[in-house]
């Protein structure tokens, strides 16, 4: 509880983190509450296709006459769930590999780091293109799996070296001398010390998950939800002439701005937090 309070204190004091935090909270609210207030329109109305913003449609309509705002709202849920799941999967994978590798050392370390190296040498985006066909994307979980399967390498490595440096610190040595278990050392001693580090990377993975998922969707490789911003972008770019002067521009700009704001939110929150928790920078 106390740590939560100090966390908010830091957030409030650091303008950047605060700004990012507010953006993310707004997105979270949109995704959680907005989706129940604004229902996803199923009915198509081709007569009102690609309308500019109006009172009844604040962000205009899509290619089938459905409200863009409603799709944006439901899309934000898709995006948040997807990026959140991706971050969790990536984190878990990275922690398992990096953690075991760093803590165990020796042969296990060598083997796990070798696997990590192999993963890191194969380019991730083309592999995601291949994976997205291999594992049929039908829901956020499979999609998140594809996005995280090849992106944990760097983080695993970083976690390993963090753990190695922790290992050398005095209080860890002390715990070890006291005969505490590995689990105790990891969960009681190391994790709390790495909290800000984890949070920072968690947010940054969420950010890059958005870019990667949108990229796959624009290539048409992961067409699982028509409200995901990437799919909206794909449709707007491919079938609506958004940028050639039609009012489809609103349909195009909505996901672009969504992607942008979400990423800025992640970035500001993460980097602000990093700044805030890096004690040397706090005056």
């Amino acid at each position: 509880m106390k740590s939560l309070k100090s966390f908010f204190n830091v957030i409030v004091r650091n303008k950047r983190a605060c700004f990012g935090f507010i953006i993310l909270v707004i997105f979270l609210l949109i995704a959680m509450i907005g989706t129940s207030i604004i229902p996803l329109p199923k009915e198509t109305n081709y007569a009102e296709r690609l309308q500019p913003p109006s009172l009844s449609h604040p962000l205009g309509t899509d290619y089938a006459g459905r409200d863009t705002l409603a799709q944006f709202v439901h899309g934000s849920k898709d995006v948040i769930i997807l990026s959140f799941l991706t971050a969790i999967f990536t984190m878990v994978l990275a922690f398992i590999v990096g953690g075991i590798s760093g803590a165990a050392g020796g042969k296990t370390d060598a083997i796990l780091m070798f696997i990590t190296n192999v993963i890191l040498t194969v380019p991730s985006f083309p592999i995601m293109m291949v994976l997205s066909m291999l594992i049929k994307v039908t829901n956020p979980v499979t999609f998140a799996l594809i996005l995280s399967m090849w992106s944990w390498g760097g983080l695993a490595r970083a976690i390993r070296s963090q753990i190695l440096s922790f290992k050398r610190r005095d209080y860890i040595e002390a715990s070890r001398i006291l005969g505490l278990s590995l689990g105790h050392i990891v969960f009681k001693d190391m994790l709390p010390n790495m909290a800000s580090y984890i949070a920072y990377h968690f947010i940054m993975i969420m950010k890059s998950a958005v870019t990667a998922s949108v990229g796959l969707m624009v290539l048409g490789l992961a067409p699982f939800s028509s409200t995901h911003w990437g799919m909206m972008l794909n449709l707007a770019m491919g079938s609506t002439a958004a940028l050639y002067g039609s009012s489809a521009i609103y349909y195009f700009l909505t996901p672009v701005i969504g992607i942008m704001l979400f990423q800025i939110g992640c970035l500001f929150f993460a980097s602000g937090m990093d700044e805030a928790f890096n004690p040397r920078l706090r005056d």
């Binding site: 950047r16 070798f114 190296n117 192999v118 890191l120 040498t121 194969v122 380019p123 985006f125 083309p126 592999i127 293109m129 291949v130 994976l131 066909m133 291999l134 049929k136 870019t211 949108v214 990229g215 624009v218 290539l219 972008l233 770019m237 940028l243 050639y244 672009v256 992607i259 942008m260 704001l261 990423q263 800025i264 970035l267 500001f268 980097s271 990093d274 700044e275 890096n278 040397r280 920078l281």
Partner: protein
């Protein structure tokens, strides 16, 4: 001894990466014979069965051969330095990569260096002038541009500079009317075609470098020796260039080397949009047509360059950072 060990590690890494990609690629649904047969039925009006037989003969690829046999065949080919023949392009994979790579390297090395230098300059400036109005403006700029996916930027560039203003061409690497070779019209044409892709990469890339640089510079600024340098009354400019700049840039130079390894893969999204005949373009083409051999060849090429780039980065780092040099 250390270098031999290193080399062995490099070779095994490449071997395992190749094996994994080989398996993943063959597990993809759909096969090139099927895709080709379907297009033959449509284009030539022949029935499906004979189209399938023809496609099998044309591609010289039989999907029913067990995967292990295919794998050993592929490996024995690799041993002889043979990457195989592309199923769709009917040409040596080495040759295709050899022709695609220069285009990718040309556009991406220029973009990378431009965005690197602009990025570190911006990043350092922001870190330095953290209290002025410039910081939020530049931060916001880099944050906004860096947050829009590169292909959206590319798409916008095409619409404005190619469709609306008609300043630059939107596709290809050069026009068929110029004769390729060492002549001025060709070079100018190539540059003209490269302007939009390069701009798209640079606009998208600056943000990343700037933010990295800023983060590093900020953390360097907090180091004790900077504080003591300030206390010693050294001029701000000197501190920035001499101490902060150099130390903050160090990790980025390694990053740059690794990024150089990464650019060999090109960008499937952007090259596809500009129909730019680079590696990324062939990558996305080979994936959609299930050209296993070409896909495999490109993956191998990228893997090797990434591994080499990592080695180079390590060497660079040990040269630039005296601490490591002393240790090693």
């Amino acid at each position: 001894m250390r270098w031999i060990k290193r080399l062995l590690l490099v070779i095994t890494t490449v071997f395992f990466a190749t094996t994994i990609t080989f398996l993943l690629i063959r597990m993809m649904p759909g096969d090139p014979v099927e895709n080709m047969a379907i297009s033959m039925v449509h284009d030539q009006g022949i029935d499906y069965e004979s189209a399938y037989r023809s496609a099998k003969a044309m591609l010289n690829y039989d999907p029913d051969v067990p995967i292990l046999t295919q794998y050993t065949k592929y490996l024995s080919g690799l041993m002889k330095g043979n990457l195989g023949q592309s199923l769709i392009y009917k040409r040596d994979v080495k040759q295709i990569i050899g022709e695609a790579l220069p285009w990718t390297l040309f556009v991406l090395s220029i973009s990378l260096l431009l965005s690197f230098f602009i990025g570190i300059f911006l990043g350092m400036y922001i870190a330095w002038k953290r209290t002025t109005i410039l910081d939020p403006i530049l931060s916001a700029y880099t944050a906004i541009v860096g947050s829009i996916p590169e292909f959206v930027i590319a798409f916008l560039l095409i619409v404005f500079f190619s469709v609306k203003l008609k300043w630059f061409p939107s596709r290809g690497a050069y026009s068929s009317s110029v004769k390729p070779g060492f002549n001025m019209p060709y070079f100018l044409d190539v540059l003209n075609h490269a302007v939009l892709p390069i701009t798209a990469y640079v606009l998208g890339g600056i943000g990343r470098w700037a933010l990295n640089m800023k983060a590093n510079a900020v953390s360097v600024l907090g180091e004790d020796y900077i504080v003591s340098a300030r206390a010693r009354g050294l001029r701000e400019k000197r501190i920035i260039t001499r101490y902060v700049g150099r130390n903050a840039m160090l990790p980025l130079v390694t990053n740059l080397a690794i990024s150089f390894g990464m650019i060999f893969g090109g960008s499937p999204l952007i090259e596809r949009l500009f129909v730019y005949p680079g590696v990324g373009y062939y990558m996305s083409q080979s994936i959609s047509s299930r050209d296993y051999i070409l896909m495999q060849g490109i993956f191998l090429m990228i893997t090797v360059t990434v591994v080499l780039a990592n080695v180079v980065a390590e060497i660079l780092y040990s040269i630039l950072d005296p601490r490591i040099r002393m240790e090693g």
